[in-house]
Amino acid sequence: EAGVTQSPTHLIKTRGQQATLRCSPISGHTSVYWYQQALGLGLQFLLWYDEGEERNRGNFPPRFSGRQFPNYSSELNVNALELEDSALYLCASSRGDGTYGYTFGSGTRLTVV
């Protein structure tokens, strides 16, 4: 069974640009979650999508947005990039609300210069 796949693995952007990160969940999982792991800030919840709808959102500005497609894959968009957006962005998937566990992808390393 294929795991959670994320692309690209690495992304380098200039301050002010937009970044798009993609995630494909495990087959059968309808929920996708996005987390940011920034140096010194730990792992922070960004967004949860289930059945195409945004179910919950973390304490991030509106320039962090995303969507979930009918095939349950998801993309995270970060507009007006700032240097402090440099981080590892992890996607996770689960059946339902994750009660029985979440499976994480390998992440996208975003570097803003």
């Binding site: 730990g42 792992l43 009660t99 566990g101 979440y102 994480f104 992808g105």
Partner: protein
């Protein structure tokens, strides 16, 4: 809002020794998760604890949950070098503003020495 604190944050162990990582959380949490992360890698799920008194074991690792004390522990038995990694606990909730999201502890960096 749920807050999760781990201690210790750094743990240097000798091979063969036992130790425990503690995870305290601030408010009611319906579920508690433990993850392992190797440098530059993603999170590997270790345990899912869903009820008071839950105890799960896998190899040299054993996790438990005490919801009354708002405490989970990860016990390491007879440590080996392969266990060197960062360990995270995370709390979840079945409802409210924390529904569906994981709130992570700071992580414990474990190094096992010969």
């Amino acid at each position: 809002e749920l807050k999760v604190e781990q201690n210790p944050l750094f743990l240097s162990m000798q091979e063969g020794k036992n130790y425990t990582i503690y995870c305290n959380y601030s408010t009611t949490s319906d579920r508690l998760y433990w993850y392992r992360q190797d440098p530059g890698k993603s999170l590997e799920s270790l345990f899912v604890l869903l009820s008071n008194g839950a105890v799960k074991q896998e190899g040299r690792l054993m996790a438990s949950l005490d919801t009354k004390a708002r405490l989970s522990t990860l016990h390491i038995t007879a440590a080996v070098h392969d266990l060197s990694a960062t360990y995270f606990c995370a709390g979840g909730s079945a409802g409210g503003t924390s529904y569906g999201k994981l709130t992570f502890g700071q992580g414990t960096i474990l190094t096992v020495h010969p």
